[in-house]
Symmetry: C2
Subunit: 325 residues, 2 copies
């Protein structure tokens, strides 16, 4: 413990210098919601905004993590420093299964050139937005060139996290029928790049044309969304994938959209974090405040209606002296 | 307009008597967030809690709406009064495509025996929890025997809405690979009943065994989750589906779990509504408050860090005089 940098100036210096131990310590503070993490990110924030942030979204099991491992290797071969944050509880990164990849990468390249961290999701995805935002800012301040953010799902909650990215990739595989239906129904947002992984699967070609026809439904898509085929197991299509990311970014910059997108992202993110904090305060208050528990009893007994209870609870939690965290 | 019941006592009386026009008016008030809706639900609340509430979740395109149409017919044949609320923007109910079914049903049965309403989701699913809760309470007070709630997605947000149900059905179809992966990864909660629709598809059998093996991964599932096969197009398997719902409910009642589940649901729902309200207040304040817009500018210019901004915004929105709605 004594070797770990624990005071603010040392941490700021360490992270800014890209020191792996300082980065690890900083992200642990972030995860533990330590007040020091807040101070640290505040100090580091002016140095951030330089990294390219790429989001990998998609249902579990399509190979997002393997794909990320391939992209890391590709970026390292270009000498780029890469930070990875995963908020996918089912990710092999979270389970440590890909640790071997990390070690192999670490052996081949500079020790401090890759930093991978999985965020614990603690029940509800919403609660992770704050920690994810801070972790990305720490890695950005640590002069990582590229940040890869892995999220899971076919819905809305993961899009919230992915909104932090400059470019959002949706990774699918043959058999991802539900995701295609979700895109078709407009329930899922159209990403910037679509990746079909496991492209050697016999159904990959059918899937490509299915996706094409879904995308064709929305003529307002100004920029044609590229579909890239990859085979992470054999590291195929990775250069093409990265090229699509670079092209999207170039497109954003050329049309002056990167700035607007980041402005929108940060606003979206601030709302997400404030909402997550509100949720936490509500849940904590309902757990420990006997008065609120009594109110819930009355709702259950049909003596007080749910909306009146909601009003009273919000009033007490948000306006009261219960400043909480 | 003059014929519509608009005063509170008339509305309470009309809804309690199951008058279709009063119900329709009440739910419109709910959707418009009219203060009268709040009064109305408060008045009606003591009469609620009698209806059986069944949630239909699942990705778009699997046939949830057609299945619901079949279940309505089945329940009407038993003389049950049925209310349907859909919060799926891609639902044929929302698009009016199934209006024909409704009219046909209405011709065959009592006029006021079925009431179908789709809730507009207005961007974010979270915002719909309040209106959905109120609509269900109105229909419950209107002495509907069964309430069917249709939600969409493969993720977390729709589960929030579905938590209002006593029994949650997950509807899948052959090709729903992403949902199966989500169940397997523990990203999606295990439902009470799984329905494979389009059971005449050649891959239906494979899917059944896939689901079985996924369910087998979790030995803690005390009650074996039934898998029901249906073919909504030909109204096949509907009686079996309903039987599985009834069995689940009987199981809950027999083990004294229905009460506990409803208690948990209402707590969960109150948090969801409070969070949705907090989100709305934050978004509205960020839109119209020039001071907050300036703060966002400063974050964008890297002069103020996002978490400091979040604190200031939450403080101003929740603690200020900005009582809002």
């Amino acid at each position: 413990m004594s070797r770990r940098p624990t005071d603010l100036p040392t941490l700021v210096e360490g992270v800014s210098a890209g020191d792996v131990r300082a980065i690890a310590r900083a992200i642990t503070l972030v995860e533990n919601r330590d007040p020091l993490a807040y101070e640290l990110v505040r100090e580091l924030y002016p140095q951030t905004g330089k990294a390219v942030v790429v989001g990998f979204t998609g249902p579990p099991g399509v190979g997002k993590s393997s794909l990320i491992a391939c992209v890391i290797a590709h970026l390292r071969s270009e000498g780029k420093r890469v930070g990875v944050v995963t908020v996918d509880p089912s990710s092999p990164f979270s389970r440590g299964a890909l640790l071997g990849d990390r070690i192999r990468l670490a052996e081949h390249f500079l020790d401090d050139g890759v930093f991978i961290r999985s965020m614990s999701t603690r029940g509800h995805l919403g609660g992770v937005s704050e920690a994810t935002l801070q972790a990305l800012l720490v890695l950005d301040a640590a002069r990582m060139d590229v940040l890869l953010l892995e999220t899971v799902g076919v819905g809305q909650s993961e899009v919230e996290v992915a909104s932090l990215a400059d470019t959002v990739l949706l990774v699918l595989q043959p058999g991802s029928g539900d995701s295609i239906q979700a895109l078709k129904a407009g329930v899922m947002e159209i990403p910037d790049v679509i990746v079909i992984n496991k492209s050697d699967h016999p159904a990959a070609r059918t899937m490509r044309s299915e996706i094409r026809s879904v995308l064709a439904l929305d003529p307002s898509t100004a920029r044609r969304v590229p579909i890239v085929e990859t085979e992470a197991f054999r590291s195929e299509g990775i250069a093409e994938l990265w090229e699509a990311v670079v092209e999207h970014r170039t497109h954003l910059e050329k049309h002056g959209q990167l700035d607007a997108r980041r402005r929108e992202s940060i606003e979206h993110e601030i709302v997400a974090v404030a909402v997550a904090q509100a949720r936490r305060r509500l849940s904590e208050a309902l757990e420990r405040d006997p008065e609120l528990r009594r109110l819930l009893d009355q709702v259950h007994e049909r003596k007080v209606d749910p909306l009146t209870a909601t009003r009273e609870i919000s009033e007490r939690v948000f306006k009261g002296d219960d400043a909480g965290s």
